[in-house]
């Protein structure tokens, strides 16, 4: 007889229940570390460790949820179309800004990794660090890194950007709210975009679009950067 936790429904049920509980918690307490994804992941890991359930058993159900990342990426294209008109008059400055930010991100990860003598698998997993989680996971599959490590760091980066991004930019003299939106979307993807939406609908639109554009840009560039630095894919 197999245990209940080995059925796919266990992983699905655990994830959905904990996620909605974490979301309910967030609506009560507006504290950035109570980000639903962060809380959900932490609680599920704790649960699995406490009851000594292997990740492989959990993921028998978890993989069905992961599957929906594919159509969710396609849905980003629809989001892009919806928001596109709002920024059309500023499209070139916007694309240039996201392009510079995206390239700086890849360069920074690579250079710091080399300077600190990090193992190859770290560059392979982190080169897509600024990009929205589903796209970052796809990139890591191409660069042969560890997708779970990518997901963890990407979510952490998003929470960090959400918490400190706009304050940091104000501190160093950025006054344009739309520039703050673009920066949050480029550096801190969807979780940063959630902060940009709080600033206003227009910064929110810039942020969502920046997230999509940087996703495509990083997909195109990072495999070649990894190939160049590490020497193999």
């Amino acid at each position: 007889m197999i245990d209940f936790y080995q059925l796919p429904v266990f992983g699905i049920l655990l994830t959905v229940v904990v996620f909605f509980a974490a979301r309910a918690l967030r609506s009560k307490i507006k504290f950035v570390l109570f980000n639903p994804v962060l809380v959900a992941i932490t609680l599920i890991i704790l649960f699995l460790v406490v009851f000594d359930i292997p990740f492989e058993d959990y993921n028998k159900g978890g993989q069905y949820l992961s599957f929906f990342l594919g159509p969710a990426i396609v849905a980003l294209g629809v989001l892009f179309y919806e928001k596109y008109q709002l920024i059309e008059h500023n499209i070139y400055p916007f694309l240039l800004a996201v392009g510079c930010g995206g390239i700086i991100s890849i360069a920074s990860v690579s250079l710091i990794s080399i300077a600190m003598h990090a193992p190859d698998v770290l560059i392979r997993s982190l080169v897509s660090m600024s990009v929205t989680t589903p796209i970052a996971i796809e990139i890591t599959k191409i660069t042969e890194g560890i997708p779970s490590l990518t997901a963890g760091v990407v979510i952490a980066v998003g929470v960090f950007g959400n918490a400190f991004g706009s304050g940091f930019l104000r501190l160093i003299g950025i006054k344009s709210q739309t520039a703050v939106g673009t920066a949050l979307g480029t550096a801190a993807h969807g979780i940063g975009t959630a902060r940009a939406i709080e600033i206003g609908p227009l910064p929110g639109a810039y942020s969502g679009l920046a997230m999509c554009v940087n996703g495509i840009l990083t997909t195109l560039i990072s495999p070649y950067v990894v190939l160049w630095i590490v020497g193999s894919l």
């Binding site: 849905a75 294209g77 629809v78």
Partner: protein, 121 residues
């Protein structure tokens, strides 16, 4: 709109999304483009909307739902971190430096370029 009608439109919208996902994966499968199929699907659905091959209302019911729950879909990958505790405890310092420095640098450069060049009207 009757509930049944809106359900059918939701179903149709999901079929459109999966059609574009399928086309993207197919292109990826038969050619050497170095882009994942789902990202090709994203570019294709944007192009189709822009060229008015499909209408926003055809796909919006499904895309709104998918985006609303996108964060739920990547929770299992995050949970996968539990298999890498040893790796993280060995490299947490490098991981933190890379994440913090890169994020602040990217924020600054992006905001700086956009602020310098954008038009206000």
């Amino acid at each position: 709109m009757s509930p049944l009608r809106s359900r059918l439109q939701m179903l149709k919208a999901f079929l459109w999304i999966f059609l574009f996902l399928g086309i993207g994966e197919l292109i990826r499968y038969v050619s050497d483009v170095p882009i994942p199929g789902n990202i090709l699907g994203m570019i294709l659905i944007f192009s189709a909307l822009k060229l008015k091959l499909i209408q926003l209302k055809d796909v919006k019911p499904a895309s709104d739902q998918l985006l609303k729950y996108m964060v739920l879909f990547f929770v299992p990958y995050g949970v996968g971190l539990m298999s890498y505790f040893d790796f993280i405890s060995a490299y947490w310092m490098i991981l933190s430096v890379i994440a913090v420095v890169t994020t602040l640098l990217t924020l600054y450069i992006t905001a700086f370029v956009q602020q310098k060049l954008e038009k206000h009207d």
